[in-house]
Structures are given as C-alpha cells and as structure tokens.
Symmetry: C2
Subunit: 387 residues, 2 copies
C-alpha cells in the first residue's frame, strides 16, 4: 500500500469541497460602500439587494436571509407553529435537521429512505402519521429532489405542514420549477461548504408576502415595531459584509455549477464499470441538478474494501473523502432512544450510512486530479481483489 | 416648537449609537490572509486569535466566540442543562434574554429591579425561588454591575446556576475583577450597536476548560468528532471575516471607551441641575464602567414633559434617542400572561420603563453636538415649564 500510495500520491491534499472565492478587489469595493454607510447589519442595502437577486436567480418570490441555515430552519418551524407533537423526517441528514425539532419542542419521527435517491420514502411517511403529527420535514439529500408530488398529496390529505430542508439543493429544478418553491417553506444553506455561499448563511423561501413578513419579525427577536414584539423570536440576521460577499458569489454560481457538472461527468466516465462502486443516479426527467456532491456507495463484497477501509485508504493518498451522512441522526445519543430510531425500522438508511462516501467535488478541482482519484479507486479495488 | 427646532437643529441626524470602524486597508490585509487560506469559518486562525486576544483583554481564561449573543445565551443554558422549570430574570432587558429561556423550554420568572442600578434586586430574587427554579439570569444593564456578591450567595445557598447576560458590559470591572468572571457563565454581545463589535457576534466566558469544550461542541451542532454528536446543539459559529474584524476593533476599544467617557462627562457637566432629568449613577467603589450608554430618567412633573413627549420632541431636532427598555419584557405578548409579569409585582421596572431614555453616546460623537443636545434638553424643559 505504501508503494502504491507513493506512485499515485497527489501534489497537495484534496478535500471533499473548497469554496470558489470572489475577487478580493471587488469585495473591497463593496466594503467601501459599507464603511461609508456605517450600516453593518439589521437589513441594510446589501441584504435587500441579495434577497432580490436570489429571488431572481432561484425563480421564487419571497426569500428571507439568515445568519445560517440551522437558525433559518428553526424559525421555519416556529413561523408555522410547529412547536409540539411529532414531525416525520429522515435520519439520513446532517444533525441540524433533527436539532431544530428539539429546539422547537417537537419529537422527531424517523422514516426510512429510498435506496436510489436517499430521500424520504413517501409510502413509509404516510404509515408513520399519527394524531400527534404536525408536519413533514424532508431533505433534498445531495440536491436530489424528493418526490415532491407524493409528499404534497400526503401533506394535503392529512392537513400537515410541509417544510423542506434544501441545504444541498441551491439552483436545483424539478418539473420545470425551482426546488425551493415546493411545500410551505424551504430552507437553503449558504455555508462555506455549499455551492453558493455567504460564508455562514442561509435563507427561507416562503409562498406568500405575509409569511415572509412573519419570518422577518421572528429572525429579529419577533420585533415588529418599536412597541411590539410578536413572539419569542431569535437573532437570525445576516450582516452586510456577508450579503455583499453573497452578491459577488451569485455572479459566479452558474460557472461553478457548470464546472462541478464537468467534474461529475469525468468521475462517471472514469468510474463506470468499477465493481462495487455505485455512482449517484442520473437526473430524472424534468430534473436539473446542481452536481454539488458526488456520493458513491461502496459494496464490500464486490469492491474488495468496505467504506471505512476505503475512506482510510484514500487518506493515505491525501484524498479526504467524507462519510456523509454517518452516523445516522437516529444513532446519535439525543435521538437513539426514540422508538422510530430502531435500526430494524430503518434498514435502507442503515445500509446507506454504512456504504456511502462523498468524493471530492468543487469547481476548481482540476481534471488531472479527478483522473488521479479515479486511478486510485481502481488501483485500490484491484489490489483488494487480488487479496 | 418649530422655531425652536430651527434654531437648535443639528447639521445631520444623531442616532443613539454609531460604530467606530477599523481601517478598511488593514481589514483588507486580513482578508488577503483569509483568501489565501480559503478557511472561511469553522474555527480558523482568526477565530483562535480573537478568542485568545479577548481572554487577554478581559482578564478571563476561557472564552468561546458565537455568531451572535442570543445564540450564545441559548447555548449557555443548554450547556448547564437549564432546560425545564423556572429561571428568575429581569423584565428590564432586551427581549433576547427571556427568548432564550423560551427556546430552552424554561418558564421565565420576572423579578423587580433596583431603582438606582436598574439591575435585579437580590432580596426579591430570593423571595421568588421555588422547588422548580433552576437558575438566575441577571443582566448587567447598561454595563452597570449587578450585586454579584449577593447573587453568588443566593445561588450557592439554593444550589442554582448563575448565568450573566453581560451584553452591555464589555470591559467592565467590579471588585478588581472582570465582570465576565462571575457566575457559572457570562454572555457578551458584539453586535454592531455595542462598544466592541464583530458586526454580529457574541461570546460565552466559562470558568473551566471542560465547560468551554462542551460549549464549543454545542455551538457546532454538538459534534465532538467525526463519529460523535454529544447533544442537540446548534450552529453558533463566528466566521473568519468577523473574527478578523474583531481583532482590529479590539485594538481601538480602549480609545473608544475613553472617548465615550468624555462624552458621558460632558453630558453630566451640562445636564447637572436640569430639573426632572435623573442622570446615570456614578461608578460605585471598585467599579470600572465602560460608559457605553447614557440612560436618563424623565420625571414628567419636574421636567415638564413625559418621556414619550421628550422622545418625540428630540426627534424634531434630529436627535434619535431610544426608549431602552420599553416595553418591558413582562409586557410583551409571549410573556405577559405569566403570574410574575403582573405590573403590580414589578413597580420599579414599570416606572423605569416609562421614564427611561438613552441619549446618543459613541466615541465619535463630537463635543459640540453633545453641547447642542444638552442645549436642546434645557430649552425643551424651559419651554415646557413656561406652559
């Protein structure tokens, strides 16, 4: 292995993602405007411009910026008064998803996922609804759209709120519509590891101006005016520096998506036929993906190594893939005692969490490095298969 | 009044506060380092340097940065498992204080305040303790230190947690010690309206490395390592841009305090003897204040105008004072039905909230503008007294 690693080693470490930064000179020009205005936060000019620009780019009407996606999702639940009872969600997500249920006094009910899309399985969602259920909180995992039609049907039939976690799904379209336009509310994350970033940040997309107005109060402590606090809100404000950064990022997001699409295509071409490595599904009809992740499933029998061994082996080559999502949220101590968290009720999610590995993908990942990563994967398979 | 306003009008509007910004050129130099490193958040080099620099400046050992003071205080309660029952706090505070109790599933118990310091009255705190009480959450209002000795005695005697909201109290010292060193945890706010700012931001000061480690997990979703999530945390991270901004701010904070001290002294000199306007108390022995606010109490009978009329009259002169804190937190809809919120149980807080007005104060407030504001106050009093 040491010899193999020496031959195929990369010139520098490759991490699972890396942000593409805007021009520092242009950012400095924006900062000059901030310095002149002395308005640093609390909904200034850049904040307003970024909200408008994101609405235009995403094809939505009402969007509220937040300091991060977690606080956005926390406020989404509060805005819709999902503050007791149960919410059906996926265990195959980042811990922020169930954590916002905790903060709203809600019990998560974990539901198993689809083996191809890794998203909530609508039939199983319906089977978990009880009189205490208030909402469904699905995640468009890796930017792959959920079955939005089935989930809309179920939520309508049962009178449930439908709140989407679209942390991964910036710019994705399904059925000719922005993925952020489905359900009652959709949360987007703009963390530094995301396709589009405000460094830390996030947003809620609402279906109406009234709901956006309520959200905008809640993210500013519930303050509606000098004399009125409409509810126990929080501080979810995004500041002017990050809003200005976001405006510059937005100009280059389509170039970033195209570049990731090219990386994804190269991985697909080079990894096709590699035994025991299942590649992400191709876009379904009507879906426009953002190629922001490249999750593979590792079948130990056929590949020759299990996911953990492959993860560790890649590290020797300075390729830092990510076990994303592992552990399942249903296995973390805060939630593992819940009845819905029992592993035998979540067989697909349990298997996917054991097998999944996200390979490095970002716009500036060089073609020769992608080729080299593919070479390494083939070499590891061949070495493992030889015994 | 119109004629009076014409004669004393200010050259430009004066707001209650205004941030003193660091050199944009130096900030750009820091940003170059961020751009080179591509580390934008998640505890990078500037974040570490700012934590260390703040410990040194404040004379404390363990400090954790946050994206804002509200999330910091929310995590403070969670870190100490104050997640049910009752917490005794003040109604004379910004809504963030009771809101974090809401988010932690805790019932606020409002306690009346001292008529001079506007801080929690320790005797009355003790009278409100029940078997359901878990903690005391006092606020060092306007940077005025609470009676930390009495509160320590009470919390020790009753086995209660003691968490300070020091949003206003950056750099304040009492009894030869940093105000941030009292109690189990102290929250600081670094919002743009504060003396020291990271634009949005805040911190928790802990008494031990173990508590800081727990807080640092909780502010990063509870993630302790790749495999372990220790609790339902949140995203409370401060990014590298704001940390870098904070390091430059910190270099000038002592100049800012000195400048505010001069503004404060000028107000005192010029407003001494103005009937019906009570000035903030002078520093008690052993207290080193930060002069970040200049709250006055308006006595309608003697001044000739009540607080609301004075607030409105000042606006005509383009002096934008602030009714801070009004309404009381005990009067906002989320809390006003609580037994402890009844106005007849909070007579001092009710009166102070009706009478208080914060006058403009910030380092760059020019002496002639301070003089002019004092002239306006005298003129308004004289005009009102003439009938």
């Amino acid at each position: 292995m040491v010899e193999l690693a020496r031959g195929l080693r990369l010139p520098e470490p490759v991490y699972v993602t890396r942000p593409t930064l805007p021009s520092l000179e242009r950012f400095r020009e924006s900062l000059e405007q901030v310095w002149d205005s002395r308005v640093l936060t609390n909904g200034g000019a850049f904040h307003q411009r970024l909200e408008a620009a994101l609405c235009a780019r995403l094809g939505v009407e009402h969007l509220s910026l937040f300091c991060n996606g977690t606080i956005a999702l926390l406020v989404a639940l509060q805005a819709l008064r999902v503050s007791s009872g149960e919410v059906i969600t996926t265990p195959f997500t980042f811990p922020a998803t169930p954590h916002v249920l905790h903060w709203n006094g809600v019990t998560p009910v974990f539901c198993d996922i689809d083996p191809v899309t890794f998203n909530l399985c609508p039939e199983q969602v319906e089977a978990l609804i009880t009189p205490r259920t208030l909402a469904i909180l699905p995640v468009h995992v890796f930017g792959q759209p959920c079955d939005v039609e089935a989930l809309a049907r179920i939520s309508n039939r049962h009178g449930l709120r439908l709140i989407y976690d679209a942390a991964h799904a910036f710019g994705v379209r399904a059925g000719g519509r922005s993925i952020a336009s489905f359900g009652d509310l959709t949360m987007l994350s703009f963390h530094a590891t995301k396709l589009f970033t405000t460094i830390e940040g996030g947003a809620l997309v609402s279906g109406s101006a009234a709901l956006k107005a309520r959200i905008d109060f809640l993210k500013n402590f519930g303050i509606a005016d000098e004399e009125t606090v409409v509810g126990p809100g929080i501080n979810g404000k995004l500041n002017e520096l990050q809003s200005a950064f976001g405006l510059l990022q937005l100009e280059q997001v389509d170039v970033e998506i195209a570049a990731r699409r090219a990386v994804s295509a190269r991985y697909r071409a080079r990894l096709a036929g590699l035994p025991g490595l299942r590649l992400p599904p191709l876009d379904a009809p009507g879906v426009e993906s953002n190629c922001s992740y490249f999750p593979v499933l590792v079948d130990r029998e056929r590949f020759g190594l299990d996911r953990d061994a492959l993860y560790a082996a890649l590290k020797l080559f300075d390729v830092h893939a990510r076990k994303y999502f592992h552990p399942l949220c249903s296995q973390i101590p805060a939630y593992r005692a819940l009845p819905s968290a029992a592993p035998d009720r979540l067989p697909v999610a349990e298997r996917v969490a054991r097998q999944v590995l996200c390979l490095p993908i970002y716009g500036q990942l060089r073609p020769d490095v992608v080729e080299r990563i593919a070479d390494i994967l083939w070499a590891l398979h061949e070495r493992a298969s030889r015994g």
